[in-house]
C-alpha cells in the first residue's frame, strides 16, 4: 500500500515529479548503457581469451624422426610471421598416416594434405590484395578453404594452416610430433604473456573510472529537489506514516525511476551494440555476436539497478530526520579542512619518490599502485577544500553580484558543489596520465639509434645457446647472404656466433653490463668492422681492427626499443677484437651484393663461423617484403622463434599496444566526461529547482536573469575547471616519473596528442555546454508569474 502510494507520488506528482522521474530514468539509462557496453566488451574479451588455444599445442621432442613410429600423430611447426607489421599465425603440418585419425585444429575440417592450405578470411583478403611475391608465395600449394572462427580471436586475425609432407617438415627446425591439439584457453598456457592480465587490469580500472561518475549521476538525480520532497514526506508523516513507511515511499519512487532507466538502457544498448562490435578495443575486432552481455547479466542489471536505487534512496534519507513538522538535516556540514590535500600529496610523493627510486630500475609495482590509488582518492578528497579555497579567493578578488553570489554558495557548500565533479576529476587524471606517457614512449621508441635503425630488419637464427633454433651453418649462410644481397638497395650486417666463449665468473660481476661495461663471457657474437661501419648507430671499432666480439642479444631479441636504445652503442673502440680462429684478421664478409663480398663471406664461413643473425636495411617496403618472403625457408629451417621484423615494426607492435591502451583510456575518459556532464546538468537543474524561491525573489527584486544565469554557470564552471586543472597536473605528475624511469634519453619531449586535447578538452567543453542547457529551466522556474510559495 505504501509502495503504491510512493508510485502515485512519483507518477501523479505533477510536472516537477515527472521531470525528476525522467531525469533519473535518463541518468540510469545512460549508466546502464555504459555498464552493459563495458560488460559486453569484457565478455567478448573473455570468450575470445577462452577459445581453445591450438597455438599452445606442444609436442614430443623431434627425437630421430622415426616417421610412422608415432601412430596417428602429425608433425607440427607453428610460428609467427608478419606482413607490414601485422602478425600472422602460421602453422605448417604434415599428417603422418592419412588413414589414422589425425589431431584436429579447431575451425579447420581436417588437417590439410601436403600442398593444400587453409587461411583465415582476413588473410585470404590480404593475399588477394597484395602482389604474390610479397605474401602469397609464403604459402605453397592451393587453398583448401577458410579457417573457421573456432580457431580465430576475431574477424581480423591472420592465420594460415599449411599442409606439408613429413619430409619437408622434418627439415624445419622447431618441428614437433603432436598427438593431440591443445584445447585449453591461452590464459592457462604456462608460456602465456601478461597481455591478458594487462587487459583485465585495464577493464578493472575502466570499471572503477566509470562507476564513480555513474553513481554520482544517479545519486544526483535521485537527490534532485530533495528538500521539497522531504517537505512532502513530512506532510505524509503528519498524516500518520511511520519512518519505515516513508522509506518505502522513497524507495518506490527511486526504484520506479531506476527500473524505467534500466529498461531504457537495455534498449539503448541494443542500438549501440553494432557500433560497439566494430570498435577494435584490443587492436582487432571481436566477432560481433560475442560482444554481448549474458542473460543473467541482463537480469542482474534489470533487477539489481532498481534495488540498488531503492537502497540508495533509503540510505540518503538516513542523513535527514523527517518529523511531522518538516525535515531536519542531522548534521551541519562543517567546512572542509586543509588536511584534505594530504592524501593527494602523499600519493604524488610516493609516486615521484620511492616507487621509482633508482633510475633505470624497475618500479616497485606495489608502491606505484598504492601511489596511484592514493592520488585518485586524494583528488576526490581534496576537491571540496580546493573548491572552497578558490571560491573564497574569487569572492575576495571580484566584484559583481553574480560572482559574489556564486562564490558565497561555493564557499558555503563546497562538498555539494564538488560532488558532481568527482567523475570529471578521475577522467581527466587518467586521461592525462596515459596521454602524457604514451606519446613520449612512442616517439622515444622511434628515436632509438637516432631513428637510423627503423628500416633495418633483424633476422635472428640461433643467436645464443639458450635460444630456440640453430645458427645457419656456413653453407646455408652463404646461400642466404647471396640471395639477400641480390635485391637492390640492400645493406647487410651478418652477425656470427663466436665459437669459443667463456663461462660466466662465479663472483659478483665487476660492473653492471651495458655500454661501458663489456664482460668477455657475454660477448657471443662476431662482426666485421667494415660491415659495422654501414650501421653507425651500433657503434664503431677502434681504428685498424677488422672484426670485434660483441653482445648483440638485446638488439636481436628485445621487443622494447627503449631498452635496445639504452644498450647502444654495442661496439665501441674498447670492444675486444675477435681473437684468432674466430675470424680475426679475415674479412668477415660484407654482403653488399657483389660476388667479391660473397666470396669474403664464404671465407669467414669456411673459418667455421655459423650465422647467428643478419641485419638487413632495405628502404623500399616492397623489397623488404620480398626479402621476407625469401627468408621464410631459412628461418623455418633454423627453427628460430623470432620472425624477421624491422625495428620500426618491433616498435610498431608495442606502439599498437600502447595506442590501444591510450585509445581505450581516452574512450573511457570521453564516456566518463559525457556521464559526468549529464551528472552536472542534473545537479545544476536540481540546484536551480531547490533555490527556486530565493532566485525568484532576486528576480522579482530586479536582478536580471542574465546575472542569475551567470551565477549558475560560475557555480558549476569554477569547480569543473579547478578540478580539471588539478587533475591534469596530477596526471602529468604521474607521467613524469614514469617517463623519467623509462629513461628515454633521445626522446623529444612529447606533448599529449590531438586525441587527448580533443577528448579531454572537448569533453570538458561539452560538459560545460551541457550545463548551459539547464539555463532555460532557470528562466522558467523563476518566472515572476510562477511566484507562488507554499
Amino acid at each position: 500500500m505504501t509502495f503504491w502510494l510512493g508510485l502515485r507520488l512519483s507518477l501523479r506528482g505533477g510536472r516537477e515529479a515527472a521531470v525528476r522521474l525522467a531525469l533519473v530514468a535518463a541518468a540510469v539509462a545512460m549508466g546502464v548503457t555504459v555498464l552493459l557496453s563495458t560488460v559486453a566488451l569484457f565478455n567478448a574479451f573473455r570468450v575470445t581469451a577462452e577459445r581453445p588455444c591450438w597455438e599452445c599445442t606442444t609436442g614430443s621432442a623431434p627425437a630421430g624422426w622415426a616417421l610412422g613410429a608415432t601412430q596417428g600423430a602429425a608433425l607440427w611447426n607453428h610460428r609467427q610471421d608478419s606482413y607490414a607489421g601485422r602478425p600472422i599465425e602460421r602453422l605448417d603440418v604434415a599428417v603422418l598416416d592419412p588413414a589414422a585419425p589425425a589431431p584436429a585444429v579447431p575451425g579447420v575440417p581436417a588437417l590439410p594434405a601436403a600442398g593444400r592450405f587453409y587461411v583465415s578470411p582476413a588473410l585470404a583478403e590480404l593475399m588477394a590484395a597484395v602482389p604474390r611475391e610479397q605474401l602469397a608465395d609464403r604459402f605453397p600449394g592451393a587453398r583448401a578453404g577458410l579457417v573457421g572462427r573456432a580457431a580465430l580471436s576475431g574477424p581480423d586475425d591472420l592465420v594460415a594452416v599449411v599442409g606439408r609432407t613429413p619430409g619437408e617438415l622434418a627439415g624445419m627446425a622447431g618441428t614437433v610430433a603432436v598427438d593431440t591439439v591443445a584445447t585449453f584457453p591461452a590464459a592457462q598456457d604456462p608460456a602465456a604473456d601478461d597481455l591478458t592480465a594487462l587487459y583485465e587490469h585495464g577493464f578493472g580500472i575502466a570499471a572503477i573510472g566509470l562507476i564513480v561518475p555513474l553513481l554520482v549521476l544517479v545519486g544526483t538525480a535521485t537527490r534532485l529537489a530533495a528538500a521539497r520532497r522531504e517537505a512532502r514526506f513530512a506532510a505524509v508523516r503528519l498524516a500518520g506514516a511511520t519512518a519505515r513507511q516513508i522509506n518505502a515511499i522513497a524507495s518506490a519512487d527511486a526504484a520506479l525511476g531506476a527500473l524505467l532507466g534500466a529498461l531504457a538502457g537495455v534498449a539503448l544498448f541494443q542500438a549501440v551494440r553494432p557500433a560497439l562490435a566494430g570498435v577494435a578495443i584490443t587492436g582487432s575486432r571481436f566477432f560481433p555476436d560475442v560482444v554481448t552481455p549474458t542473460a543473467p547479466q541482463y537480469a542482474i542489471v534489470i533487477a539489481g539497478v532498481p534495488l540498488a536505487a531503492a537502497a540508495a534512496a533509503v540510505w540518503s534519507l538516513r542523513r535527514v530526520r523527517i518529523t511531522p513538522l518538516g525535515a531536519a538535516r542531522r548534521t551541519r556540514a562543517s567546512a572542509p579542512g586543509w588536511w584534505r590535500v594530504l592524501p593527494l600529496l602523499a600519493g604524488l610523493g610516493l609516486f615521484a619518490g620511492p616507487a621509482f627510486a633508482g633510475g633505470g630500475r624497475e618500479p616497485d609495482p606495489l608502491l606505484a599502485d598504492a601511489g596511484l590509488a592514493l592520488i585518485m582518492v586524494g583528488l576526490m578528497v581534496a576537491g571540496p577544500w580546493l573548491t572552497m579555497l578558490a571560491a573564497r579567493l574569487a569572492a575576495r578578488l571580484t566584484r559583481g553580484a553574480a560572482t559574489l553570489l556564486a562564490a558565497r554558495r561555493l564557499a558555503a557548500e563546497p562538498k555539494a558543489a564538488f560532488r558532481s565533479v568527482n567523475g570529471i576529476v578521475l577522467a581527466v587524471f587518467i586521461g592525462t596520465a596515459v596521454a602524457g606517457i604514451v606519446p613520449a614512449v612512442v616517439s622515444g621508441q622511434l628515436a632509438a639509434g637516432d631513428g637510423t635503425l627503423n628500416e633495418v630488419m633483424r633476422v635472428p637464427f640461433g643467436y645464443a645457446d639458450a635460444a630456440p633454433g640453430r645458427p645457419l651453418p656456413p653453407g646455408e649462410a652463404d646461400e642466404l647472404l647471396a640471395e639477400v644481397g641480390a635485391h637492390p638497395g640492400v645493406t647487410v650486417l651478418p652477425i656470427y656466433r663466436r665459437t669459443t666463449t667463456q663461462d660466466p665468473p662465479a663472483a659478483p660481476l665487476p660492473c653492471d653490463p651495458g655500454p661501458g661495461c663489456r664482460l668477455d663471457f657475454m660477448l657471443g657474437h662476431v662482426v666485421s668492422c667494415d660491415d659495422l661501419a654501414r650501421f653507425p648507430a651500433l657503434g664503431a671499432c677502434a681504428p685498424g681492427v677488422r672484426a670485434v666480439t660483441a653482445d648483440f642479444n638485446r638488439l636481436l631479441t628485445s621487443d622494447n626499443l627503449l631498452s635496445v636504445d639504452r644498450n647502444l652503442p654495442i661496439v665501441d673502440p674498447t670492444s675486444p677484437s675477435a681473437p684468432a680462429g674466430t675470424g680475426t684478421g679475415k674479412d668477415v664478409g660484407s654482403g653488399s651484393g657483389n660476388d667479391a663480398d660473397s666470396g669474403k663471406a664464404g671465407a669467414a664461413a669456411s673459418d667455421g663461423l655459423s650465422l647467428a643473425a643478419v641485419l638487413i636495411r632495405a628502404d623500399d617496403p616492397a623489397v623488404r617484403e620480398r626479402i621476407r618472403t625469401s627468408l621464410t625457408p631459412y628461418v623455418a629451417r633454423s627453427g628460430s622463434a623470432e620472425t624477421p621484423l624491422t625495428f620500426a615494426e618491433v616498435a610498431r607492435f608495442r606502439e599498437v599496444l600502447l595506442d590501444q591502451v591510450e585509445r581505450v583510456a581516452l574512450a573511457i575518459v570521453a564516456l566518463t566526461l559525457l556521464v559526468a556532464g549529464c551528472g552536472l546538468l542534473v545537479a545544476v537543474a536540481g540546484g536551480v529547482v531547490e533555490r527556486r524561491q530565493p532566485f525568484t525573489l532576486l528576480r522579482l527584486s530586479g536582478t536580471p536573469t542574465r546575472t542569475l544565469s551567470l551565477v549558475v554557470v560560475l557555480e558549476t564552471a569554477v569547480p569543473v575547471l579547478l578540478a580539471a586543472l588539478v587533475a591534469a597536473a596530477a596526471g602529468f605528475g604521474v607521467a613524469g616519473p614514469v617517463i623519467d624511469q623509462l629513461a628515454i634519453k633521445s626522446a623529444p619531449a612529447a606533448l599529449p596528442g590531438a586525441g587527448y586535447l580533443l577528448t579531454v578538452g572537448g569533453g570538458l567543453l561539452a560538459a560545460l555546454l551541457i550545463v548551459l542547457a539547464g539555463l532555460p529551466l532557470l528562466r522558467r522556474v523563476t518566472a515572476p508569474d510562477n511566484a507562488r510559495f507554499e
Binding site: M1, T2, W4, L5, R8, L9, R12, G13, G14, E16, A17, A231, R232, A234, A235, V236, R237, L238, A239, G240, A241, T242, A243, R244, Q245, T323, P324, L325, G326, E790
Partner: protein, 240 residues
Amino acid sequence: MTIDALPAPGPLLRADSISRSYGRTPALREASLSVTAGEILAIMGPSGSGKSTLLHCLAGIFTPDTGQVWFDGHRLDTLGDAGRSRLRRTAFGFVFQFGQLVPELTAADNVALPLLLGRTGRRHAYQRARGWLERLELDGLGERRTGELSGGQAQRVAIARALVTRPKVIFADEPTGALDSLAGEKVMDLLVGLARQEGVTVIVVTHDSRVAACADREVIVRDGKVTDPYADEYAGEAVR
C-alpha cells in the same frame, strides 16, 4: 492499576508540568493543561509564547524535556515513534495554517492518506474520503491537486482529512491564519460544527478572538506557562 494507566473518566488529554526548550531558548516552562473529551479548547497568547510548542507536545510530535503527557490513560511522551505515528493516523487529526497537505496529490488522495497508511482498502478509503469531502462542501474538487486549491478550500480538505479517521482529538494551529475573515469563518464553522456532531475534541491555537469564541473554554499561554483554571484541580491527583 499500573503507573502508566489513568482510570476513566478523567481528562482525555493532560499535560503535567511539561518543559521544553529549543537549544537554550525555553519555549515551555512547567506548563500543565487538561482537556476533557468532546471539549473545544482555544489556546491563546502572544506570539512566541509557546502555543505551537504546547500543541505539538500534546499531539506527541514533540516530546517534552521534562513532565508528562497523558492521552486516554496512557503516557504519550514515552511512546516510541511507531506508536506515536499510529496515534496520529488513528486518534489525532491536524489542521495547521498550511503545509499539512501534499500539494502534488489530489484532494481525495490527501483525505484518504491516513486510511491508506493504515490497513484500509483503497476503495473503502476513497469512498470515505469522498464522503467527507462532500460534508465539507467540496464535492467535485476531489480530483483537483491540493496545490491548485484556494486557501479556504485547502483548509477544508485538511479538516476532511483530520476527520476521516474518526479521531478523538483534532489539533488545529492557526487554521484560519492565512485566510480572509469570510473564508476563515466558514472554515471554523465547519470544523466546530462537524466536531460537535462527531463528538471530537478540538484544541485550537489562535490569535483570533472570533475563533476563540467558538470554543467551550480558552486558556492563555504566556512565557511558556499556561493559565488554566482546571489545571490546578487535576494537578497531582489521578482521579477527579
